[in-house]
């Protein structure tokens, strides 16, 4: 069966298995890259790339300007680097801060906390630019709703609504990737 790039995108958006598998196969072709990255899970690369593709195709950002396979593999490569960077951060940056969850009382709990954190970071990478900016203002710049509103030129109420939407987005991403 010879499907055009357009067919594959349409089939994927319609939730058809064949088209999904074609895209998954293209991502898996990068197996020789994955082999070099010990801690990066292939399944996570596939699921995160698929999520990005879903959003990009929905927003029509691909627009059939080039070869679909190259596009998919480029997105997969972005994802691979993001994952590698996560693991680098995992070892290079301080793990816990003052507001982190309390030290776990058991090894199992520690693993659970780390796993949760890993998922949270994957979610953050997959969120929209708008949400990441909003969270940055809140958690890095540590400014309140009112100041965020002033910076973005929107009301405080609107900021709260956006926070709520971003949380929903994060939950949706979590459901998709886990």
């Amino acid at each position: 069966m010879n499907l055009s790039d357009q067919d594959i995108i349409e089939g994927f958006l319609a939730g058809r298995k064949t088209e999904y598998e074609i895209l998954a196969q293209w991502i898996k072709e990068l197996a020789h890259i994955r082999l070099r990255i010990k801690r990066v899970s292939a399944d996570e690369i596939v699921s995160d790339t698929m999520y990005k593709l879903l959003n990009n195709f929905r927003s029509d950002s691909f627009q059939l300007r080039g070869n679909l396979k190259s596009y998919v593999q480029a997105i997969a490569c972005y994802t691979i680097i993001d994952h590698v960077r996560y693991w680098r951060k995992y070892t290079d940056l301080p793990e816990r801060e003052d507001f982190d969850p309390p030290d776990p009382s058991s090894v199992e709990q520690d693993v659970e906390v780390r796993e949760e954190q890993s998922i949270a970071e994957r979610i953050f990478r997959l969120m929209s630019e708008e949400c990441r900016k909003l969270w940055h203002l809140r958690f890095v710049d540590e400014i309140n709703y009112e100041e965020i509103g002033a910076r973005l030129g929107i009301s405080e109420g609107n900021v709260k609504i956006r926070f709520h939407r971003c949380k929903k987005q994060a939950i949706t991403i979590r459901e998709k990737i886990t």
């Binding site: 890259i33 480029a74 982190d100 953050f124 540590e142 709260k160």
Partner: protein, 295 residues
Amino acid sequence: MDKSELLDLIPPYVTGKVSDEEKAAIERELPNSKELRDEIAFWRSARVATRKAAAYSAGGHLTSEQIVDYVREAISNPKEKLVIERHLQACDFCAEDLEIVKPAYEPSRSFFQRVIAQTKTTLKLVGEFFVPPQLPGGKRGLAMVLRPIYALPMLAVLVVSGVIIYQLTSPQEYAVSFALQFQTQDRSSGSGEVPTLTLDKRATVIHMSVPIPHAIIQPTMGNITLTLFPPDEKPIQLTQGLSWSVGSSTFDTAKVEIPASILHTIGTYSLHATVKYTPTSEPFEYSYRFKSLPD
């Protein structure tokens, strides 16, 4: 404070940016509200994820998009390309990231190219192994003497590996035995039963036994010649593995090895045995026929 107000307070709560009164209100509700506890857990994770991402970005690293686009030569702006190249020269992290995705955009290599590349890598590793360790003071004198200690076991391993690989890869002989019966010299076509050699496709060699009428004076090997006449092909002198043994008072047996490839043509073959019972006697000729059929 109602629940919706409390929920709105959780993001500032996890950053410690709530008033004492708000903090007390949240903590009062916490033991009774799983929703509130889940909310706190969620925003704590969100905060850590955001701060980690920000800390990494603060290092001024290239984005994953910049790295991948640079590798796939999708950056058309020469200034941007220059900035990326300069950063890659200075930043080990980004250079490492680039090396990770580079293979995806290298021309695909054939299986043999990959084998050659792998062999080169292995040889390089072996070469490194043979380099004697640096001694204190940078001298390698004693280490050079010690080299056979490394070299001999390695050589032994290589020889054994070679033998194993040869055994595994060299074609194995698959022999089929075929014994001809003495056939009376009947010249009429189609008369008499012609024995059939059913040729197994795995066969590489046929061990053929040819009955020769017994003589009192046993001939030497030089006194027998066997010639095979394949159907519609030139006659072939058979010499490989030719041997002779006394069978009974009536017949002796000449044995010969015939490569199976010669017998793959389907049809009737003739085999001529020329025997000189004494070096000076006239040769006796015996003719045999057999059919070759594939398995």
